[in-house]
């Protein structure tokens, strides 16, 4: 299930708004829905609104933001073009005493009542076992484990309503089973030692059994460490603690983290960056989403730039054939996207929203003006994020000074007066300013 087009006729700041979310001409996936989309734009341009409309239009799922609006106003105003198993559908909201979702293919149409009491799922939704996942900007960092059956029953996993840490329940049973088996083998070793302490071969055999078991048995915590979290935690000089001393499921708690000297870092002392990484990557790894939509609002929160640079690609590796939607204020996050994947939202003179196009003429990969993946960070800030100044006002002032001395020097050069004391003074000033401004062109 992927979205190839969003149309909003008239809703809040959106009027006659339409965005094409397919690969452009010349691309190997020309015409197919984009695998990832990045909404950027000034605050108030509707990035989060667009994200939160998606679960509402698909499943009638009401997020915190959608809850504050009159959902009736969405009827006849929102259309999605979607693709499910390569079959194109049109999905729109209509009003007939209640809000309906209308699905249309070329041959048939279905209406689904959006109501908490009357939720009818048609065949293609039932088939879609994987759930739409929403990571809001204000992720719940509470890492107390609680059993939350709603998480797995709902069509949408919305981490603005549910604790992210509750996904840990997905592997708690596996961890307990693993720990119990390990404990059993260790007890066998103890018995062997007690009963045949003088027979070295018997002890060796028992130990080898433990070693073989460890090599062949799936260790869920080791798996999370190796395949999900350790490469991210390495940025903080941390790793997942895999050697646990636990006897019951309650002892397990949430994932544990240690430093490189094997000192466990209590959950309460994790940095917000550490929490952000664990609580965003772990759900994707454990839920193993497939052919669904994943929404991330401000994925950059609390992450240092070097980690922001890698996070989008990393999330993509944790999902199978999913469509990601991001909303961000970070130029570094934006640098992970091709230009056709970026939807820059802007206000027009009347305060309505339009998408700034990055191509000229036909929508072809060769006609794009710039590519964030190839640009310098400052260039992305200036051209894509419209931060058009070089730097602070003081830097601008100093650059003006430098430009003035450069011109004065050139004029003296034209006059053949470089041997004058004034020229030497100018050179000293140019050198000082160039050093201060890191400008040695």
């Amino acid at each position: 299930m992927k979205i190839s087009k969003i149309e909003i006729k008239d809703f809040h700041q959106f009027k006659d708004f339409s965005i094409d979310l397919t690969y452009p001409k010349g691309h190997a996936k020309e015409g197919q829905p984009l695998d990832k989309v990045c909404f950027i734009g000034q605050s108030g341009t509707g990035k989060t609104t667009l994200l939160e409309l998606i679960p509402f239009v698909f499943y009638g799922h009401v997020t915190n933001l959608i809850n504050k609006i009159n959902s009736r106003s969405l009827a006849l105003n929102i259309n999605f073009d979607i693709s499910y198993n390569s079959i194109p559908f049109e999905l729109k909201l209509v009003w007939d005493d209640v809000l309906l979702r209308e699905f249309k293919t070329k041959n048939e149409s279905h209406s689904i009542v959006i109501s908490k009491k009357k939720k009818i799922l048609i065949e293609w939704i039932e088939k879609n076992k994987n759930k739409l996942i929403y990571f809001p900007s204000n992720l719940n960092y509470d890492i107390d484990i609680e059993s939350n059956k709603d998480l797995f029953n709902a069509a949408v996993i919305d981490f603005s309503h549910q604790k992210v840490a509750s996904v840990w329940n997905l592997i708690l049973d596996k961890i307990q089973k693993y720990q119990e088996e390990e404990l059993q083998i260790r007890q066998e070793i103890s018995r062997t030692v007690e009963q045949s302490s003088s027979i070295i071969e018997s002890i060796k055999l028992a130990l080898r059994k433990l070693e073989d078991w460890k090599n062949t048995e799936f260790n869920p915590i080791q798996d999370v460490a190796d395949n999900c979290l350790d490469r991210l935690l390495a940025n903080f000089k941390l790793k997942v603690k895999t050697e646990l001393d636990i006897k019951t499921k309650d002892d397990i708690g949430f994932i544990k983290v240690e430093d490189y000297n094997k000192n466990e870092i209590p959950n309460g002392l994790w940095s917000t960056g550490t929490k952000q990484v664990i609580l965003s990557a772990l759900p994707l790894y454990l839920l193993k989403p497939k052919q669904t939509i994943i929404l991330f609002d401000e994925p950059e929160r609390s992450l240092y730039p070097d980690l922001q640079r890698t996070i989008v690609e990393y999330y993509s590796t944790l999902a199978d054939d999913c469509q990601f939607f991001y909303a961000t204020h970070s130029p570094i996050i934006a640098s992970s996207f091709d230009p056709w994947e970026i939807v820059e939202l802007k206000f027009n003179e009347e305060g309505k929203i339009y998408r700034e196009l990055y191509y000229e003429g036909e929508n072809h990969i060769d006609n794009y003006k710039w590519n964030p993946k190839l640009m310098r960070w400052d260039d992305i800030l200036q051209r894509v994020f419209d931060l058009q100044d070089d730097g602070s006002p003081l830097r601008r002032e100093k650059l003006n000074e430098l430009a003035t001395y450069n011109v004065k020097y050139r004029k003296l050069e034209k006059k053949g007066a470089l041997d004058q004391p004034e020229a030497q003074e100018i050179i000293k000033k140019i050198e000082k300013l160039s050093r201060e401004l890191s400008s040695w062109n």
Binding site: R383, D386, L387, D390, R396, N400, A403, V407, K408, S439
Partner: protein
């Protein structure tokens, strides 16, 4: 930026001209109706060769202001053409914002400028002596260009007081050195130099002043 010839006598938009002359001769307040917006905008682009009157960024394709677009003294949009009347990135600037109220469509007060610059410039007044269509105006009088930082600066020969007021224009009203404008200009100048170096013929369709001051064109 560069001097702009806005010869009122040769306008192709004769219907606009008759209309505005009539308003002026009767001392009538100009209506805000946009009947002649395209006429004026495209005439201005013709005078400005499709670039912003201040930054000289390229904001309008030449096809839009070809003479053939005017029929019987009125600009007509060609719906079959590749470029439509709205396919430009400029907005109309009223050089003296005080004239907007009564003389909104006064030809001599109008220029087309980059829309992003216009939104920043707002209703700030430009120094009267920097009006690009004045007989006595020339950019050399008031500006210098530093090829190293690619910044315009006030002419270093002017008094400190004049330089300060021109610097304010450059930074806060005309935005001649604003990040993207400056980078585009630097890139364009470097691309012209590159083409010259490798025997290609560069097309100079923007940043005319800076190119003229930095490069000896063959």
């Amino acid at each position: 930026m560069r001097k702009i010839d806005k010869n009122y006598d040769v306008l192709l938009s004769t219907k606009y001209k008759t209309w505005v002359d009539n308003l002026e001769s009767n001392s009538t307040k100009h209506p805000l109706s946009r009947t002649y917006y395209d006429d004026v905008a495209m005439e201005l682009y013709k005078c400005q060769q499709g670039v912003c009157a201040y930054t000289e960024r390229y904001i309008c394709p030449a096809e839009l202001y070809e003479s053939a677009r005017w029929v019987d003294g009125k600009y007509l949009n060609d719906e079959s053409a590749e470029f439509q009347r709205v396919d430009h990135a400029g907005e109309m600037d009223h050089f003296d914002p005080n004239l907007k109220k009564d003389k909104y469509w006064l030809w001599r007060n109008l220029f087309m400028i980059d829309a992003t610059i216009n939104s920043r410039k707002s209703n700030n007044n430009v120094l009267t002596y920097l009006k690009p269509d004045l007989d006595e105006y020339s950019p050399e009088k008031y500006f210098d260009y530093d090829e190293v930082t690619h910044k315009f600066i006030p002419n270093t020969e002017l008094s400190d007081e004049t330089r300060a007021e021109i610097q304010n224009m450059i930074d806060s009203v005309l935005f001649l050195n604003h990040g993207v404008v400056k980078n585009d200009r630097k890139d364009f100048i470097n691309s012209v130099k590159f083409k010259q170096k490798y025997g290609m013929t560069p097309v100079i369709d923007r940043f005319f002043t800076a190119v003229r001051w930095c490069i000896v064109l063959e």
